[in-house]
């Protein structure tokens, strides 16, 4: 990788100042994505600001039943937190469905939010990629695109957002707290990740000098009965082809509350608001689930490699909601 200067600040102010002073600086958390991208020559920071000494590695209760998760909480620690398992099972399941145990032990919550796509053309410096090199073109659109997005894409990029955790965060209306020399900002998760449009290299609402300090999870009562279902090309240790984060409350056969988000199929963690709207107040049955998924997929644009994903989304959404309604274990 390209040589760089290394800083390890001891507190948040110092970290924020370091990056404010150096436009070529990047924050480093667990390293599971950034170090890989630096080795591949895709990320070439002049300075790396290592955050792992910052005191941002705790999970606190919020009034009303929410949780505040420090940006440096390791993924495995968050998944193992009993409050998370009790209040937001979908989040614990999403984290445990991602990567491997070793990577979850390293990866941080803040870093996971900033995970970059696994599009093979993005990863290959010899291929054309608008995300890596604005204006270069996109080799994925006419190439291998089995792993690519059917929702939220544009003519310049169809790369999938790879995170599992963020799909659950999207369903839970998490809020991302960021700090810079200009102060603190709170960004709703729905506004945090940006669709590619004509600027696929701009992936989040985060400014270059802003540091993620925490993720806040509001109280979401329905999430007590929630699931994360991940469908992939092998039984473990693979990115999602389709994933579904869902929470469901049914009374007398009628959906009284629902949360639904999709992973593996969109350029951002995809909150399925149209599906939720259709489901709410309607019958809790297979046909309704499939119709809701179908409606969510109305704007889908498929390619030869990923055309199967629309059917897979319908099937996985329906199966996950059915399992939640029937209280079935996913095994």
């Amino acid at each position: 990788m390209k040589p760089f200067a290394y800083l390890k600040p001891a507190d948040v102010d110092e970290a924020v100042l370091a990056v404010a002073a150096d436009p070529g600086a990047r924050f480093l958390g667990g390293g599971t994505n950034l170090v890989d991208l630096m080795r591949e020559g895709i990320e070439r920071p002049a300075t790396v600001v290592d955050l792992t000494a910052l005191p941002l590695d705790e999970v606190h209760d919020l009034p009303g039943g929410g949780l505040r998760v420090g940006a440096l909480v390791r993924n495995s620690a968050l998944a193992a937190d009993r409050r998370v398992a009790a209040r937001y099972p979908m989040l614990a399941q999403a984290i445990l469905a991602g990567a491997s145990a070793q990577l979850r032990n390293m990866a941080t919550v803040g870093g996971n939010l900033l995970q970059r796509t696994r599009c093979p053309y993005f990863y290959d410096r010899e291929s054309a990629c608008n995300k890596r090199e604005p204006g270069a073109g996109c080799d994925a659109i006419g190439g291998f695109n089995r792993s690519h997005a059917v929702l939220g894409g544009s003519g310049s990029c169809i790369a999938t957002h790879p995170s599992d955790m963020c799909v659950a965060l999207a369903a839970l209306d998490a809020v991302v707290e960021v700090r810079s020399v200009r102060g603190v900002r709170r960004i709703p998760i729905a506004e945090f990740h940006l669709p590619p449009g004509d600027t696929p290299h701009v992936e989040t609402a985060l400014a270059a000098d802003e540091l993620i300090t925490a993720v806040e999870l509001p109280p979401v009562p329905v999430a007590v009965r929630s699931r994360y279902r991940k469908v992939r090309d092998r039984a473990s240790y693979a990115f999602a082809l389709v994933s579904v984060a869902a929470a469901l409350e049914v009374r007398d056969g009628v959906v009284t509350d629902v949360r639904l988000a999709l992973g593996g199929v969109a350029t951002t963690p995809w909150r399925a608001r149209e599906a939720e709207r259709l489901l709410l107040g309607g019958p809790a049955n297979e046909e309704a689930y499939r119709r809701a998924a179908e409606a969510e997929l109305a704007p889908a644009a498929v390619r030869p490699g990923n055309a199967f994903k629309t059917g897979l989304v319908r099937a996985t959404v329906a199966a996950t909601l059915r399992d939640l309604d029937l209280g079935e274990e996913i095994g």
Partner: protein, 149 residues
Amino acid sequence: MRVNGAEEKLDVEPWVSLADLLRDRLGLTGVKKGCDQGACGACTVLADGTRINSCLALAVQYDGKEITTIEGVAPHPLQEAFVRHDGLQCGYCTPGQICSAIGMLAEHAASGADPAALDEAEIRERMSGNLCRCGAYNGIVDAIKDVTR
């Protein structure tokens, strides 16, 4: 950094990975590199007892930590169990499998669960970050089960 119980004072460039530091500078070649990108688990070591992929760790990030490699775990009952159950063939993934299994058993114990409750399916899922191309998976799982009894 403490490595396998010994204090190591090292001066390394920040772009040197923990895996390369251990292999090239400290001669701890039991740490293997199968992919150098966190996709195979061969480089698994324990950092303060937690299993990590040392290829994606910058060495400087682990300043002050206690690093344990396969050379530092001996003698561990898993090593003997791997031989007895033939949980290896070429041997290249083996140190990573053993370090990962040690970390896995510690994670399981930390959750308060009974080690004997680790069934094959759960061992497989928890060990899926360690690839074995020779296909010694059955023997590896048997070896791990063996030491939990």
